[in-house]
């Protein structure tokens, strides 16, 4: 029996509304993601990798093409709304992803409030999540301005995980972080994947990070798919562009 992909896109196209250029932001992207996988999307800026991630996260709808979740087509408001509740997104710039006027603990419990959880449940889940990402309980009542970028990124991760999502999409999760604690973030992400079975989609412009974390890597160049390869296997038919990228390491 063939396994049904958790998330699958075929012939995805996207062009930004109102842009006069005829160039499409994305052209003909096919992608299958199975539950529990770690998928990387690699590309330079302007390659459409962020656009693709926004489409996968349901923020944008593809201009044409098919998006399947668990084998069901994503179409219409309701399907999208249900879908959005089962995924989470981690933005590149953690400072922009939190409201500066709310405390850490409030930020983490926010998605649960929207889902009308009970107060005790919210408190226990939020503190569990904050502990998981290694936040010192002394700092739970601090404001984001008082934390380092690395810490805020982990707060965002805690917020994302508080709802128990099936898919976690991370847009350049490490680029704002310092060298010395990138590793910590990577470790937490891998832990989530192994222990909670969260499917990870990681977007990056650095092949190093992706080769390190993911098994499957999609390479984008100017809105087109260049390669999709499994890094555990021998890959001798990679395109020139991919080789150029990988050789820079």
């Amino acid at each position: 029996m063939k396994k049904v992909p958790l998330l699958s896109g075929s012939n995805l196209m996207f062009s930004y509304p109102g842009s006069r250029q005829k160039k499409k932001a994305l052209e003909d992207i096919d992608l299958d993601i199975f539950a529990g996988e770690k998928v990387g999307i690699l590309g330079a800026s302007g390659s459409g990798k962020t656009t693709l991630s926004l489409i996968l996260a349901g923020f944008e709808k593809p201009s044409s093409g098919l998006l399947l979740f668990n084998g069901n087509r994503l179409q219409g408001r309701k399907a999208y709304r249900d879908y959005r509740l089962r995924i989470q997104y981690l933005f590149q710039n953690p400072m922009g992803a939190v409201n500066r006027y709310r405390k850490i603990f409030e930020i983490v419990s926010e998605p649960l409030i929207y889902r009308k959880f009970k107060k005790e449940a919210i408190e226990s889940i939020a503190s569990e999540m904050l502990k998981m990402v290694g936040m010192d309980p002394l700092r739970w009542n601090d404001y984001p301005d008082q934390l380092s970028l690395g810490q805020i990124q982990r707060v965002c991760l805690a917020r994302a995980m508080s709802t128990g999502p099936e898919i976690l999409i991370c847009d350049e999760p490490f680029s704002a972080l310092d060298v010395s604690n990138r590793g910590k973030m990577e470790e937490i992400l891998l832990f989530l994947n192994v222990k909670h079975g969260v499917t990870l989609i990681i977007i990056s412009h650095e092949p190093k990070t992706l080769l390190h974390l993911c098994y499957k890597v999609l390479v984008l160049h100017e809105g087109k798919k260049v390669d999709l390869f499994d890094i555990t296997k021998e890959n001798d038919q990679l395109s020139e562009y991919t080789m150029k990228l990988l050789n820079q390491i």
Partner: protein, 321 residues
């Protein structure tokens, strides 16, 4: 050629004094390439700003920077500073697009800089600026000169900035994270452009970066900065093979650890300190795994051990007592 001794910078804010840069010493010969490596908020940029005379208006600036025939840049008058900037030293900024004036055409900005640096008339500088752009990888320099910064990509803007920096064949070029806002491929292109200009003009290059890859690949000397202090300085090779300071060891392990597929992840526990915190002992104390008792109370001096400088009690114990 460049000799920095006892560089300190402190700033008074809200009644307390923050020592942003502490006791930085280094020297460079003509044609060398120094990488100043550090994490965000470590004060690595400030160290190079001192070299450019950008901190001279601040009160809490101490030490001497002897370079380009100037006894002490930190005490130079603004006229002398301007002469240095025009003739001796080039600057490549961090955000290429934001470092060019948005309301002026590339050609007019470039010509103005060239005119200021060479002392020639604006008109003749138009030609010079075209010739400057040619070897930097522009296929149609004429067209670029007619454009505005927002019409160019980040990489192209950075090439223009490189052209401005090397216009007067400077003795040194300071590049402040020249690639941090660029893509992977563009990043290496820009570095190669800078390096080939260096080979041609033999200037000294000071490269501020947080990217160890660049530091190890393109530089022959590396200074590791943490919390406004120079923790370790030596040749790139030595630092890579035998890092001495615990922090350098951690960094090098982070660097070599990544890159191999699913190998053990390495990170240094704790958060990097900002220079805007106050210290008594060693700034790395909280995160250090090899700390001693003395580290908490007294800042380690910068000592020389086999050809490099290290600021750590593990090596400076004898002198400390």
């Amino acid at each position: 050629m460049i000799k920095v001794e006892g560089l300190c910078l402190s700033v008074n804010k809200k009644k307390s004094t923050f020592r942003l840069v502490r006791d930085v010493n280094y020297s460079l010969e003509q044609g060398e390439t120094l990488a100043i490596v550090g994490e965000s908020g470590s004060g690595k940029s400030l160290i190079t700003y001192a070299l450019l005379g950008m901190l001279n208006h601040l009160e809490g600036l101490e030490g001497t920077v002897e370079a380009f025939g100037q006894k002490n840049i930190l005490k130079a008058s603004s006229k002398e500073i301007r002469r240095l900037r025009r003739n001796k030293i080039g600057y490549i900024p961090q955000n290429p697009r934001e470092s060019l004036t948005p309301t002026l055409r590339i050609g007019s900005q470039l010509a103005e800089v060239v005119a200021a640096k060479t002392g020639k008339s604006r008109r003749s500088c138009r030609l010079i600026s075209r010739n400057l752009l040619q070897p930097l990888g522009f296929s149609e320099p004429e067209k670029v000169l007619q454009m505005y910064p927002h019409q160019l990509s980040g990489g192209m803007c950075q090439r223009v900035a490189v052209a401005m920096a090397i216009a007067s064949s400077p003795a040194a070029v300071v590049a402040d994270e020249p690639t941090s806002s660029l893509d992977l491929l563009t990043k290496y292109e820009i570095i190669k452009v800078i390096k080939s200009a260096q080979e041609e003009q033999r200037f000294t290059l000071v490269l501020v970066t947080h990217d160890l890859d660049l530091a190890f690949k393109y530089c022959n000397k590396i200074a590791v900065v943490y919390g406004g202090r120079l923790f370790e300085m030596g040749t790139a090779n030595e630092l890579y093979v035998r890092p001495r300071h615990p922090y350098t060891r951690g960094l090098v392990r982070c660097f070599t650890g990544a890159g191999m597929a699913n190998s053990g992840l390495h990170y240094i526990p704790g958060e990097p300190v900002s220079i805007y915190t106050q210290f008594t002992g060693c700034r790395y104390f909280n995160r250090c795994q090899m700390r001693l008792e003395i580290c908490e109370v007294k800042e380690p001096p910068c000592v020389r051990t086999d050809g490099r400088r290290v600021a750590c009690w593990l090596y400076g114990r004898d002198e400390g007592k």
